[in-house]
């Protein structure tokens, strides 16, 4: 019982982590690229790294935080322009080749000794050099707290049955929420919206009740970072929702289906694709800035593998959906930790050492990505009908 509680606590912590939120924001950007416009951007981590560098280098050199944010966005903006200008007129595959190489170039330049004064080369920029200003903004005060002080230990002394019932209810609530989302009219009408919102709040409260996680209020990786990171993730989701329901979003989907048809209708396809590339890239940069808020800027932590995690999260949640990126990121990171802890707890050390469980979890993730693409290409929230007719 305690082992299971330990594993689930670990998953909860990972799901809540600011880096999960950061990846979710980057995946939201990738969703605009790949999900809605059909741009095969294989270098989202490059956008993230540029955002992080722009942010961290400016602040560690004494500029105010707002300028740091602007520089982060500016770098991603220019990166998108430079990548898009030569490739967006060509077939989609070329963009994939160019973005993956460009992202690697950014990473290698970042870790080269040449720019060590700015980027700290492979060591990176320690968080202490740029996160102080951000933490000073906190209105959470000092000390530490657990989000809801009332948790399962307060009911019948945390007996096993309380937790098991709680877990079952939590699973039921999550499944119900996913089903509502998939039905496509989760937020249609006042009553539906209220019910949905109530369900979401109840689900979150229930999870905090079952898995109490204490953090510092403001510390390096405390509630303040989590609050801001998830707040931004929700804000980005809202922005994407507003964008894709508009005629502009319709154009994006049209371009994904057939560029020539859209061109024949008198639309400037190149300009729309460029706009999509830039918008998605800016989300990537924001994700990068959030990613480094609770740690440090390390070029190697934002390499190819991060791009592939982004794709896994996107395909898991469902490309071309509004909530897919957030759901996919949470499930991806929580699931990976779940696999890792389970393997560590139940597989004897003689078969798999603790170090190997980490690698094992990534292997399972890779297999999961393949299985998703083969058996459920639309992901959890995706619309099968949007994919069915692609011949």
């Amino acid at each position: 019982m305690d082992t299971i509680q330990f594993i689930l606590n670990g998953m909860m912590r990972e799901a809540l982590s600011p880096q999960t939120a950061a990846v979710a924001i980057a995946v939201i950007g990738l969703n605009i690229h790949f999900g809605f416009t059909g741009l095969l951007n294989m270098g989202q981590s490059g956008f993230m790294l540029l955002g992080a560098y722009g942010f961290a280098i400016s602040i560690s050199n004494g500029l105010p935080m707002i300028l740091g944010i602007l520089f982060g966005f500016g770098a991603a903006f220019i990166f998108a322009l430079v990548l898009g200008a030569p490739t967006l007129k060509l077939r989609g595959d070329y963009l994939a080749i160019v973005t993956i190489s460009a992202a690697e170039i950014i990473r290698y330049v970042g870790r080269s000794a040449l720019l060590v004064d700015f980027t700290g080369s492979a060591q990176g920029i320690p968080g202490s050099q740029y996160t102080t200003g951000f933490r000073n903004l906190s209105f959470f005060g000092t000390g530490s707290f657990t989000l809801i002080p009332f948790n399962y230990t307060d009911v019948a002394d945390g007996a096993a049955w309380v937790r098991i019932i709680g877990w079952i209810v939590a699973i039921a609530v999550i499944v119900l929420i996913v089903m509502r989302f998939r039905s496509g009219n989760a937020f249609k009408g006042l009553l539906q919206s209220a019910g949905m919102a109530g369900l979401l709040v109840f689900g979150v409260l229930l999870l905090f009740f079952l898995f109490p996680v204490p953090y510092q209020s403001t510390g390096v990786s405390g509630w303040w970072v989590r609050f801001v990171a998830w707040g931004l993730a929700l804000l980005c989701t809202l922005v994407v929702f507003l964008l894709v329901r508009s005629p502009w979003g319709r154009l994006l989907r049209g371009i994904r289906e057939d560029e020539d048809a859209i061109r024949s209708l008198g639309k400037n396809v190149f300009s729309i694709k460029m706009q999509a590339l830039i918008i998605g890239g800016l989300f990537g940069a924001l994700g990068g800035m959030v990613y480094v808020l609770s740690s440090s800027v390390q070029p190697d932590s934002m390499g190819r593998s991060l791009t592939f995690f982004c794709y896994t999260a996107l395909l898991l949640g469902g490309a071309a959906t509004i909530f897919g990126p957030v759901l996919g990121s949470v499930l991806f990171f929580a699931g990976r930790i779940g696999i890792k802890y389970t393997a560590a707890a139940y597989v004897p050390d003689s078969i798999m050492s603790n170090q190997q469980t980490e690698q094992f979890s990534y292997i399972v993730v890779g297999v999961a990505l393949m299985l998703i693409v083969i058996f459920r290409p639309q992901g959890i929230l995706g619309n099968k009908r949007e994919l069915r007719f692609n011949v």
Binding site: V239, L242, L243, R245, S246, P247, W248, G249, R250, L251, R253, G254, R256, E257, D258, D260, A261, I262, R263, S264, L265, G266, K267, N268, V269, I272, Q275, I279, R385, E386, L387, R388, F389, N390, V391
Partner: protein, 331 residues
């Protein structure tokens, strides 16, 4: 927007068949003939793929307000010609004498999207319905000058909601006309081939074009639907729109077109009214070959004499063609 909407429905007086016949009888039935009021003028468009010349059109004028058919055997370069003048392909002679103008506007260096914005909208031989989008979404993509397609305005519904309603009303009307209204919320991928052709044509009409270019609109469409498609095309003409279409089915061509241009091996070989152009020797040659009336199963053909005769004829033809080309080169 409203200005554009009213524009194509000018009364050209060409809804009357007699008026059209009177007009076309004044045209010269020669390739590249001049027309009194051409909406599209094409000059010196050549497209070579390596050593092969796919299109070599010296001069072509398309009369405003009529249905002009572009016919020719397979590989005659009709679709390539379409691609060239709609900006989907670039002529080899671009910048070296290729000119084409639509409605008084020179299009020599214009992109496909600006060509469409100028009012010349095309459809495709292989239908490009956007399968994973609903029929109504397909239609609404066709409308021009949408405020909501601006990235900055798109986030604020208030700036485009009203226009969106107008566009949807217009789309509904067109869908009803093309008998697709019941399919409004279905995915375009679930439509039949013929319905997709209809959808593509209706979508092109959403942009209020001055001229619509249909690339084999009847290919793969059942006879009943063909009838209604033909009706739609004629209605468009009667409303003052110019139609240029590529077609293989001669019955269709004879039935609806007012003027026919014939292409073969990339060149414009003949022009004329639908009922007379088919008897033009150049057209018969292009379609059937010079010996189309010879029975290939006839044993008499296999005698040495007959073969020699044919060989001589071929040699004479070749010499004639060479002389012609030389003359052209000198000119």
């Amino acid at each position: 927007m409203s200005e554009q909407m009213a524009d194509p429905k000018v009364d050209t007086g060409l809804a009357d068949p007699a008026a059209r016949r009177a007009l076309t009888s004044g045209f010269d039935a020669v390739p590249g003939a001049g027309k009194p009021d051409p909406i599209l003028v094409v000059d010196n468009i050549v497209r070579q793929f390596g050593g092969m010349t796919a299109v070599d059109v010296q001069h072509l004028e398309v009369q405003r307000g009529l249905i002009t058919a572009l016919i020719g055997p397979n590989g005659a370069g009709k679709t390539t010609f379409f691609n060239l003048i709609t900006g989907f392909d670039k002529p080899t002679t671009a910048g070296k004498g290729a000119h084409w103008a639509f409605d008084g506007r020179t299009l020599d260096k214009t992109s496909a999207s600006s060509v469409a914005q100028a009012g010349m909208v095309r459809t495709f031989q292989l239908t490009k319905a956007l399968s994973a989008m609903t029929v109504i979404d397909n239609m609404m993509l066709g409308a021009q000058n949408q405020a909501g397609e601006n990235l900055l305005k798109s986030m604020f519904r208030g700036t485009w909601a009203k226009q969106e309603k107008e566009i949807e009303a217009k789309a509904d009307e067109l869908l009803a006309r093309f008998k697709l209204f019941e399919k409004k919320n279905d995915y375009a991928g679930s439509l039949s081939g013929g319905q997709r052709k209809l959808l593509e044509m209706a979508r092109a009409l959403m942009s209020d074009p001055k001229m619509i270019m249909l690339d084999e609109p009847m290919a793969g469409v059942n006879p009943a639907l063909t009838q209604s498609l033909l009706g739609h095309i004629q209605n468009l003409r009667d409303e003052g729109m110019t139609v240029l279409f590529v077609e293989h089915d001669m019955h269709v061509v004879r039935h609806i077109s007012d003027w026919v241009a014939v292409m073969a091996e990339g060149r414009l070989v003949a022009e004329g009214a639908a009922d007379t152009v088919m008897s033009d020797p150049a057209v018969i040659d292009a379609y059937l070959g010079a010996h189309h009336d010879t029975d290939l199963g006839d044993d008499a053909l296999l005698t040495d004499e007959a073969l020699e005769e044919i060989a001589e004829e071929v040699a004479a033809e070749d010499a004639e063609r060479e002389a012609e080309e030389e003359a052209e080169g000198l000119r």
